[in-house]
Amino acid sequence: MTEQGILGYFDGPKAIILAARQMKKKNAFRKWDAFVPFPVHTLDEAMGIPASRLPWIVLLGGLSGLSFAIWFLSWTSAVNFPIWVGGKPMLSWPAWVPIFFELTVLLSAFANLGGMLLFCGLPFQVDKPLDLGFTDDKFALWIPESEPGFDAIRFETMLREAGAIEIRVVGKGDA
């Protein structure tokens, strides 16, 4: 499936931030995106992209790591194969804290990676219109046809007014 929509090219990171700010005021974009050759700080803020829900997934991953570690260590040391070590109680949790910590971090990291891939649709979603210049020196805002109230002419003018140096309409069969 090839997405259709409009690409507006801008003359560098500053221009694209200013353009995003200006366009956001005129229309509450929900589906738009930006293509830039390197991370442009504050662009997400300028585009009004809401904060990611990823932290909640990471929290969930961390909590499951922690509870798994607590359960597993208690079960192995005190229930399944109890061994008396160093005169300590069976449930001597201070010795397990490093493992609690490590498993919390490990599952948080897995949840982080997995959640990021899921939200970005990676590694399967490769059908965005791609200009090879986006990996080199081109900066563009992308408004897909799925944008609510999509109107090619209106959005094209909006991009031009925001200082786009080039507009490309991506239709069926393009890209």
């Binding site: 700080h41 504050t42 160093g86 005169g87 201070p94 010795a95 804290v97 490093p98």
Partner: protein, 404 residues
């Protein structure tokens, strides 16, 4: 782009408001009065609280030197704009150097029991015999004064070259300061550990822990960060010197450091406890015994809550770190936690054979209040002397345009 085209904002000059100056000096006076009250009612306890106050403020100065060193070495731009604050925060160190002499020479055995062997109960002599090569007054004073003296010398050179750059804009000063910072860090690692061993660990000379140096370092660094945050927030208020210069991203960075070192404190504190708990040797566990029996258990648990649980969950949120009022409250809390930590390390050593309960009296805070208010006075006066922002620093442009 040539230099002439860039117009970066300059910090407003700062005049120490006379009302605030009076307040600081008056509070310092009240602190001195409380301190005198402490000496009148319980001199043994008063000497320990003098040490608490001395270490609390000296650590605020030392920690600022370390913050500056890591900023130079890492070539960091995010802290350039408030470097004048860390420079001013180290201005207390010469006073600490001078005050060290009466503290050690007059306090002696009343602060560090081992310095006065004659009054030690006999069973304790045995512990001291094998440590004489390290724990002796001459070595104690030489180690600490050399460390303090070298830190003072380096911070003064940093300050001189930083101010010289204000006048001539020469980048060579940054190069010199960075090299000096690298040398400083080599001095710092053993120096701050030894200072912690001498001033705080040797209070209970029977006990030893190689983690203790790092433990005191965390308190030093984090409390200095909290103080830097408070000064920076105050100076960036409406009409302040940093208004429009120190942005939300900068204070967010300070908040992240405070948050990170809250975790580091718990890590080091727990690490120290864990190995001692695991080995379970009487000569090592005694230190935690003294902080568990006789009603200390609740205090020790309260310290964990105050120094880790509360600030950890409080500072975790992004909103808190980007809001000046909320971040300021967090920093203030952490300063209090550091004072609590010093109290927890120091007061149980009043009787090395145990049996001291965790009482608090209003006199306990006297020395800390007095020295802290003097510190505020010294820092604010130092900031008011020169340009409030090192705007000729080669990284100043990057600082002003700091992104996330």
């Amino acid at each position: 782009m040539s230099h002439g085209e860039i117009h970066l904002p300059e910090g407003r000059p700062f005049a120490y408001p006379s009302k605030q100056k009076t307040l600081h000096l008056a509070l310092a006076g009240i602190g001195l009065a409380l301190c005198a009250g402490g000496f009148a009612s319980d001199p043994a306890r008063a000497w320990k609280t003098v040490l608490i106050g001395y270490m609390f403020v000296t650590y605020l100065g030392l920690g600022a030197a370390f913050i500056q060193a890591i900023q130079y070495v890492a070539n960091a731009a995010w802290g350039v704009g408030f470097r004048r604050v860390t420079e001013a925060m180290t201005a207390i160190l010469p006073i600490s150097f001078v005050l060290y002499l009466p503290l050690v020479l007059l306090g002696k055995g009343r602060v560090w029991a081992w310095m006065d062997e004659a009054t030690l109960p006999h069973p304790l002599h045995h512990f001291l015999e094998s440590k004489h090569w390290y724990l002796n007054l001459k070595g104690f004073m030489i180690r600490d004064l050399v460390f303090l003296g070298l830190v003072i010398a380096i911070t003064r050179l940093w300050r001189r070259w930083s101010l010289a750059q204000d006048r001539d804009g020469d980048e060579i000063h940054t190069v010199h300061n960075t090299r000096l910072a690298a040398a400083f860090l080599v001095l710092w690692a053993p120096g701050i550990s030894i200072l912690g061993f001498d001033m705080l660990m040797s209070l209970d000379f029977k006990w030893f822990s190689s983690m203790f140096g790092v433990y005191t370092f965390v308190g030093c660094f984090q409390s200095a960060l909290a103080m830097l945050t408070l000064f920076t927030l105050w100076h960036r208020r409406k009409g302040g010197s940093f208004e429009g210069i120190v942005g939300e991203n900068n204070i967010h960075d300070l908040g992240k450091m405070l948050f990170g070192f809250t975790v580091f404190w718990a890590y080091i504190g727990f690490g120290q406890m864990l190995i001692i708990w695991y080995a379970d040797l009487p000569e090592e566990t005694v230190w935690f015994r003294d902080r568990w029996d006789n009603g200390w258990a609740a205090v020790s648990l309260a310290l964990i809550v105050a120094h880790f649980v509360v600030p950890f969950f409080y500072l975790m949120r992004r909103k808190v770190k980007r809001n000046p009022t909320l971040l300021g409250l967090g920093a203030l809390w952490l300063l209090g936690a550091q004072l609590f930590d010093l109290y927890w390390m120091t007061i149980p050593t009043l009787n090395l054979e145990g049996g001291i309960g965790p009482q608090m009296s209003v006199f306990d805070l006297g020395p800390a209040l007095a020295y802290f208010c003097l510190y505020l006075f010294v820092v604010q006066t130092t900031i008011s002397r020169h340009k409030t922002v090192p705007s000729q620093d080669p990284r100043y442009d990057e600082f002003i345009h700091l992104h996330q």
